[in-house]
C-alpha cells in the first residue's frame, strides 16, 4: 500500500480558455477525512473528477492508492468509490437494486453483497424504503442511496461530492455517522461541501479552493486560528472576500 492515499502534484485543468483547477498540490493520508470547501465553479468537482479518472489533468499528475490516475485508471477505479454531486441512479430499479448493481460492478461476492447492502441500508435509515422504485424517493433519500452506491464495495478511497446536499438534519446526521465509521476502517475520504458545520464536524483537514486555486490548507482549528476567525465561513470570507453561501 502506498504511503499516502492521494497525492496531487501541481494539477492544472483547462477547458479551452477557462482554467478550472490551477496548480493544486495536496497529499491525503489513509484514514483521513479531507474536506474541499469552495463555492460553485471553484474547481472542487473538477478535482474530484480527475481523481475519479473521468478527466485527465492538463498539467501535473495525481496518484490514488499509488496508482496514476491518467495511466493506471483501471487500478484506480477498483479502489475508489465515487458519489457524484448530482445523484445518478436507475429510476426503475429499487434502492436496494441500485446499491447491489454497483456492488456487482466492483465484484463483491453475491452473498456478501446481500448482507452488506441490508446492513448499510439499516445504518443509513433506508431499510424500510429499500424495495421501492428509486424514482419515487425524495431528494434526501436518493442522496443516501447514492452514497451507499459509492461505498458498497468498501473502497479504499471515497470521493464524495456534496453528499449531504438537500438532506434533512436527521438524514444528514446519519450520513455523518456513517462517514465517521468508514474512517475507522482506514478509508481515505475526500468530500466537497458547502456546509461549514459539516466540514468542522467531519474533516481532519480542509482545503479552501477558489477560482481553481487552493488558497488555504489545514485543520479547521488551524485555519480559524491563523485567520483569527470564529468559524470556517469567516475564514473563507477573510481569504476570498466572498460569502460562501451567497454564491451557492
Amino acid at each position: 500500500m502506498s504511503e499516502s492515499a492521494i497525492v496531487i502534484e501541481n494539477v492544472t485543468k483547462r477547458f479551452g480558455s477557462v482554467t478550472a483547477v490551477d496548480g493544486v498540490s495536496l497529499e491525503i493520508k489513509w484514514g483521513e477525512i479531507f474536506g474541499l470547501l469552495g463555492p460553485n465553479g471553484a474547481g472542487k468537482t473538477t478535482l474530484i473528477n480527475i481523481l475519479a479518472t473521468l478527466l485527465t489533468p492538463t498539467n501535473g499528475g495525481a496518484q490514488v492508492g499509488g496508482y496514476d490516475v491518467e495511466y493506471d485508471g483501471k487500478n484506480v477505479r477498483e479502489i475508489i468509490g465515487v458519489c457524484p454531486q448530482e445523484p445518478a441512479f436507475y429510476g426503475h430499479l429499487t434502492g436496494r437494486e441500485n446499491i447491489e448493481i454497483y456492488g456487482t460492478f466492483h465484484d463483491v461476492p453475491k452473498t456478501e453483497l446481500k448482507e452488506r447492502t441490508a446492513d448499510l441500508l439499516r445504518k443509513i435509515g433506508m431499510d424500510d424504503h429499500a424495495d421501492r422504485k428509486s424514482k419515487e424517493y425524495s431528494g434526501g433519500m436518493i442522496r443516501r442511496i447514492s452514497t451507499l452506491m459509492a461505498l458498497i464495495h468498501n473502497p479504499k478511497v471515497a470521493l464524495l461530492d456534496e453528499p449531504t446536499v438537500a438532506m434533512d438534519p436527521v438524514s444528514r446526521r446519519a450520513v455523518w455517522d456513517f462517514i465517521l465509521e468508514l474512517k475507522k476502517n482506514g478509508i481515505a475520504i475526500v468530500l466537497t461541501t458547502h456546509y461549514m458545520e459539516e466540514a468542522k464536524f467531519l474533516c481532519d483537514r480542509v482545503g479552501i479552493i477558489d477560482e481553481g486555486r487552493l488558497i488555504a490548507l489545514g485543520t479547521p482549528q488551524e485555519l480559524m486560528d491563523e485567520n483569527n476567525a470564529e468559524n470556517l465561513e469567516e475564514v473563507f470570507i477573510k481569504l476570498t472576500g466572498k460569502k460562501l453561501r451567497e454564491v451557492v
Partner: protein, 387 residues
C-alpha cells in the same frame, strides 16, 4: 470482460421493459400493434380471403340484333371468381361511381360489339372485312392491385366470349406455365406487405437503443459507471445482449400476431425458423445503428430526430413500400431490403430454405450488422474515453 457484470447490466435493462409502461409499449406493443393494424387493414383476417373486384358495366349494345354477345360477355365476367358486377345506364353514372371509389373498374361495351364479333366469325382470316369496335376500360387509379389485375381479367373474359369456354383448354405446342389470375387474386395486399412488416418492426429498435443510451448519459449514469471497473466493452456487450433478447421477443410477438390474424406464409417450419433468424440478425444491425445514433446525439430529444436518418431510408427503401426506380437502387444499400427479399422469397414465392439467394441475404445482413455494431462500439468507446 466479466460475465457477472454483463449479466447485471442486462438484467437492469430488461427490468426497464417490464417496469416502465412506456418502454414496454415502444418495444413490444408498438411493433405488435403496427403489424396487427397493417394486417387487418390490408386484409389479413381469416386466412386472407379472396380479393373481390367491383366492376361496373355499361352495355351500349343491349338493344342491337346481336345483343347476345354482350350478354355473354357480361355473363362470363360475372361468373369469374372475385368479381362483383354493377350495371349502369350511362357512362356518366359509372364514371361517377368510379371516381368516388365505388368501383375498381368500369367497362363500356360499345354499340356494335355483337356486330363486330359476328363480322369476325364470318371471315376470321380476313381482317379487312371486320367491323372494329373498342371496349373502353377505366380503372381506379387509387388501387394498385386493381390497376394491374383487372385488364388481363377483362381480356381473358373477352377471349372466352369470342372463342367459347373451351378456348382455355385449346391444345397448343407451347404452354405458359404461370399461375392463373384467379390463383394470384387469392393473395391479399397484406400477404405482399407482411415480409416488409417483419423487418419494419425491428427498425424502431434504432430509436429505442439510442434513447436508452442518451438518457443514461444525460442522467450522469454513464459518467458514474466510468468511475467503476466496468469497461465500455462490457457495457456495449450488455446493451447488445439485452436488446437482442428484446428483439427475439419482439419478432416472436410480431410473427405470432400475424399468424393470429390469419397470415399463412407459403413456407415450412424451417422457412419460418430461417425468417426468425434473419430478422433477429437484422435487430443486431439496428442495435448498432442505435449506438451510432446515441454517439452523435447529445440528448435523447436529438437522438429521436437523428434516429430517423437511419429509420426512414430503411423503411422506405427496404421494407413494404417498393417505389421502383431510384428507390430500388438505394434499397440495395439497406439491410432491411435484404430481410424483405429473403422473407418474400420464402413466404410468397415458397422457395425452400436451401435457396442460395436467402443465404446470401442472411450473410449480407449479418456482415452489415457486425459492421454497424463494431462502428457503434468503437465510436462509443472513443466518446467514453477521458476528456
Amino acid at each position: 470482460m466479466k460475465s457477472r457484470r454483463i449479466a447485471a447490466l442486462v438484467k437492469k435493462d430488461l427490468k426497464l421493459f417490464y417496469r416502465e409502461p412506456a418502454a414496454l409499449f415502444l418495444l413490444i406493443l408498438f411493433p405488435l400493434v403496427i403489424s396487427l393494424i397493417f394486417g387487418i387493414a390490408f386484409g389479413g383476417i381469416n386466412t386472407g380471403g379472396e380479393t373481390e373486384f367491383r366492376i361496373g358495366i355499361v352495355n351500349m349494345d343491349a338493344n342491337s340484333n346481336n345483343a347476345g354477345w354482350s350478354e355473354s360477355f357480361i355473363g362470363n365476367l360475372t361468373e369469374l371468381n372475385g368479381t362483383l358486377i354493377n350495371h349502369y345506364d350511362s357512362n356518366t353514372t359509372g364514371q361517377d361511381d368510379l371516381l368516388n371509389g365505388g368501383l375498381h373498374a368500369l367497362v363500356i361495351i360499345p354499340e356494335g360489339f355483337g356486330d363486330s364479333i359476328e363480322s369476325y366469325w364470318v371471315s376470321p382470316l380476313d381482317g379487312s372485312t371486320w367491323d372494329n369496335t373498342t371496349v373502353e376500360l377505366y380503372l381506379d387509379s387509387g388501387s394498385m392491385i386493381a390497376s394491374s389485375a383487372v385488364p388481363p381479367m377483362v381480356q381473358q373474359v373477352l377471349f372466352t366470349t369470342i372463342y367459347g369456354a373451351q378456348a382455355g383448354s385449346m391444345e397448343l405446342p407451347i404452354e405458359i406455365g404461370s399461375p392463373s389470375l384467379i390463383y394470384v387474386s387469392d393473395l391479399t395486399q397484406w400477404d405482399f406487405m407482411a415480409p416488409g412488416i417483419f423487418a419494419f418492426a425491428a427498425i424502431f429498435m434504432i430509436m429505442t437503443v439510442s434513447q436508452s443510451l442518451t438518457v443514461e448519459r444525460e442522467n450522469g449514469l454513464l459518467n458514474r459507471m466510468g468511475t467503476t471497473p466496468v469497461t465500455s466493452s462490457e457495457f456495449i456487450a450488455a446493451k447488445t445482449l439485452a436488446y437482442m433478447i428484446v428483439g427475439v421477443l419482439q419478432v416472436s410477438l410480431v410473427f405470432a400476431g400475424s399468424f393470429a390474424i390469419g397470415y399463412q406464409p407459403n413456407t415450412t417450419a424451417s422457412g419460418l425458423l430461417f425468417a426468425f433468424l434473419i430478422v433477429v440478425v437484422f435487430t443486431l444491425t439496428c442495435v448498432g445503428m442505435g449506438l451510432i445514433t446515441a454517439v452523435i446525439s447529445k440528448t435523447a430529444d436529438i437522438a429521436t430526430g437523428v434516429g430517423f436518418i437511419f429509420i426512414m431510408p430503411q423503411m422506405f427503401f427496404g421494407t413494404f413500400m417498393p417505389l421502383g426506380g431510384l428507390s430500388e437502387v438505394l434499397g440495395t444499400f439497406m439491410p432491411s431490403n435484404y430481410v424483405t427479399h429473403a422473407l418474400t422469397t420464402l413466404f410468397l414465392r415458397g422457395a425452400p430454405v436451401g435457396t442460395m439467394s436467402v443465404w446470401i441475404d442472411l450473410v449480407v445482413v449479418a456482415v452489415i450488422g457486425i459492421a454497424m455494431l463494431a462502428i457503434g462500439a468503437l465510436l462509443f468507446g472513443r466518446q467514453s474515453a477521458k476528456k
